[in-house]
Amino acid sequence: MKKHTITAILCAAVALIAAAIAGTSFLEARKQTPIVKGPGVSEIKMLSDWFPGLKGSPGDTEVYILRGAKPGASMLVLGGTHPNEPSGHLAAVMLIERAQLPSGTLYVIPRANASGFTHNDAQEGAPQKFTIQTPAGPRVFRYGSRATNPIHQWPDPNVYIHASSGQTLSGSETRNLNRGYPGRPDGTLTERICYGIVQLIKQENITITVDLHEASPEYPVINAIVAHPKAMSLASDTVLGLEMQDIAIRLEPSPVNLRGLTHRELGDFTDTLPVLMETANASQGRLRGRTDEALVLTGKDKWYVRAARLGRLYVPYDEKGHPLDERVGRHLAGIQELAFSWTLSHEDQPLEFEGLPSYDDLMTDGLGAWLNPPSAPQS
């Protein structure tokens, strides 16, 4: 056998072995990590119950319903719109596992883009999962991608054209859930998920919709609430309430010319009051150093500390980082304050939460102390 033929066979064998090892880990990422149903959950449905076009597709996802003891207003919380922004997903999980409602109804979608949880963004070097220690043992959660898995929606066009406005964006934004609203029943998988969420909001007359996100520390809209004009009054009261708890947060109006996002389109196309909340996540930024589970959990990053000293960031950043406990705490405090502000001005339509940890509780005890044990009945 010629020398180059042997080399070719060896290279092919090595490539096959590498493909098998990597392929196994990619397949593993498609298995959902369990969410442990809490005492407040009345019912678990699927998004396809509101839009059957999603049934059996990778975009179909669980909707947890927590009905209060008394009727009242309703709130929809979207976690995992971007699965590389873990505080949104974890805050939604915490609502499912801990929240109980004296009044009103809460709908929680912890994996709004379920497909995005099944892969990582190429060339971002992200971990596939992260582990939180609870008193009863470790709980594993997926760290996913900002976008729908190309296995489920491919190829991207060169340019993404937002269906209802004609706005153009980079082609990869075609798979970004928060650029596809209000969605289309016959559109791409991502647009159909958006459409399904809009149908849920319309059919259930959702009063308030909260979309939970994170942003890189160098991004100007961070530690902020972005509100549609019709939700601005509610958001203003919420910001005041959070400031009284010593949680600094900015209020940003939803830009009129940036289309496809929840805080713009859900306000324009439905009756809900949409707000979007952002916390500071180093593991998705461009300035970050080593990218691993520790960065996701602690937010400690020496390059961000240096960038802060250079005045390049929009949040304070020091050696303590911004741990996941803090980021989830901010989201949960924001959600509770939104409900409180609403109830203050709408006593006939209350929305009340109980059982959730406060921001200080999470900063003191950590997330693990408040998550359900992994051995409890799972959904």
């Binding site: 590498a18 493909a19 090892i21 990597a22 880990s25 990619f26 990582n120 190429a122 060339q123 971002e124 070097g125 992200a126 971990p127 596939q128 190309p150 190829p155 991207d156 066009p157 060169n158 340019v159 054209i161 269906a163 706005q167 153009t168 964006l169 980079s170 082609g171 990869s172 934004e173 160098e218 991004y219 100007p220 809209v221 830009p255 010319n257 940036l258 289309r259 461009r286 300035l287 970050r288 150093g289 080593r290 990218t291 691993d292 990053d301 390059w303 240096r306 960038a307 250079l310 390049r312």
Partner: protein, 423 residues
């Protein structure tokens, strides 16, 4: 000395040793460098990272492979030679105008697709023989094709680096047409005259016309012979104009064009032609795969953050200098990567200026990444279409134009508000 700096040195060292000492292919050197970085950096699942990194270029690889097949088929069918004869005969009396028109023609596929590779491998390949018969050297022709291709990639309507930068700061792709035209068209005219007209004005064009071969054209007719290139360009335009009706994607468009070349002109062995195209493309496709692995490992180990934060560490008054140096250098990995990794942080650091003009200018500098070895997509493919073995000779010719491009882009950033006030 930070561990990230040591890792960076290790990866560059392994890559250089593989390329220059051991004479391995560039792609193989990148694979070994990335593997060394992953192991030394202590990544938990190095194989997953190496494989995952390659997926960033799947679409680009498909486009390049099919575009190469189309170019080879168009040449083997005799259409390339015939098209050269027709165009040169019609415009040979006004070479300056011809040069400008041909440069703009090379830009068109890049303007439509946002890819400099598409420009080089389609219009660039078609125009190259015209440059030769008019008296341009292969090196000059290659340099002009490369320049026109990256200007086409930046010119409107489609500019992917601007979209990437805009995506990083939530700025929609709106209002960029005029600044992008101001940035690209004057430069295209300058380069057309610089490389083209200056070199061909002394050539007796009447004699050139006499030497042209019209036999293939007479045998098959212009309509049939040129149908493949017309169909490819029409499909690209239709896809842009009616994206909701027609969405074939560039690889499929090129495959359709390749099939047409087989029936439009001289008969040729299409499998042989496609195999030759893949052989030519394979080294570049390998480089893209290697680059994907390197970026993934650099990001996971923190080397990317080290590079970006150091680039941002200069005083504000030196920021433009750092932009001029670091973005093209990072383009060695990829122009789009440079727009994402460095373009966005620099854009954020320049938020006080006019955002549209600044983002457009940064995208022009990012496009220079397509000249930067080892990827150097525009230069490598230009060398292939003009028939030069080593693309380094073209790169030397591109040095001064690249500096001019950087100077123009920085001027636009400096005077962004004033320029915006002009229109």
């Amino acid at each position: 000395m930070s561990p990230e700096f040591l890792l960076f040195i290790l990866m560059v060292g392994v890559f250089a040793a593989g390329c220059f000492l051991l004479k391995w292919p560039v792609a193989a050197s990148m694979l070994v460098a990335a593997t060394a970085g992953a192991l030394a950096g202590g990544l938990q699942d190095p194989i997953r990272h190496l494989v995952e990194g390659t997926f960033g270029y799947v679409d680009t690889i498909l486009t390049i492979a099919t575009a190469m097949m189309f170019m080879m088929g168009f040449r083997d069918s005799g259409a390339l030679e015939a098209l050269t004869a027709v165009v040169v005969k019609r415009f040979h009396k006004v070479p300056s105008l011809l040069m400008i028109l041909l440069t703009l023609v090379i830009m068109v596929p890049g303007m439509i697709t946002g890819s400099s590779t598409a420009s080089v491998l389609t219009a660039g390949a078609v125009v190259a023989p015209m440059f030769f018969v008019m008296g341009m050297s292969k090196v000059d022709a290659g340099a002009l094709i490369s320049l026109a291709a990256i200007l086409g990639m930046i010119a409107p309507p489609v500019n992917i680096p601007v979209m990437i930068i805009g995506g990083g700061i939530d700025m929609p792709y709106v209002g960029f047409e005029i600044p992008l035209l101001l940035l690209t068209i004057p430069l295209a005219i300058v380069f057309a005259l610089w490389f083209g007209w200056r070199k061909v004005r002394g050539v007796d064009q009447a004699k050139v016309v006499e030497s042209l071969d019209f036999s293939t054209l007479q045998q098959y007719g212009a309509i049939k012979l040129f149908a493949p290139i017309v169909v490819v360009l029409v499909l690209m335009v239709l896809e842009k104009a009616f994206p909701r009706v027609l969405s074939l994607g560039m690889p499929l468009i090129f495959l359709l064009g390749t099939a047409l070349t087989w029936i439009a002109g001289k008969r040729f062995d299409i499998l042989q032609s496609a195999r030759k195209a893949m052989e030519d493309a394979l080294p570049v496709l390998g480089i893209l795969v290697g680059v994907g692995m390197l970026i993934q490992v650099m990001t996971a180990t923190g080397v990317r953050g080290f590079i970006v934060v150091n680039a941002l560490s200069v005083p504000q008054e030196l920021l433009l200098v750092m932009i001029a140096i670091s973005i093209p250098l990072f383009g060695a990995i990829s122009a789009f990567g440079a727009a994402s990794v460095l373009g966005v942080p620099f854009m954020l650091a320049l938020l006080g200026r006019d955002q549209i003009i600044t983002a457009a200018s940064l995208s022009l500098i990012a496009a220079l990444g397509d000249f930067m070895p080892p990827t150097a997509l525009a230069a490598i493919f230009a060398a292939k279409v003009v028939g030069i073995e080593k693309y380094g000779t073209i790169l030397k010719k591109l040095l001064v134009p690249a500096l001019l491009i950087i100077a123009v882009a920085l001027t636009f950033i400096l005077f962004s508000r004033q320029i915006r006030a002009l229109y």
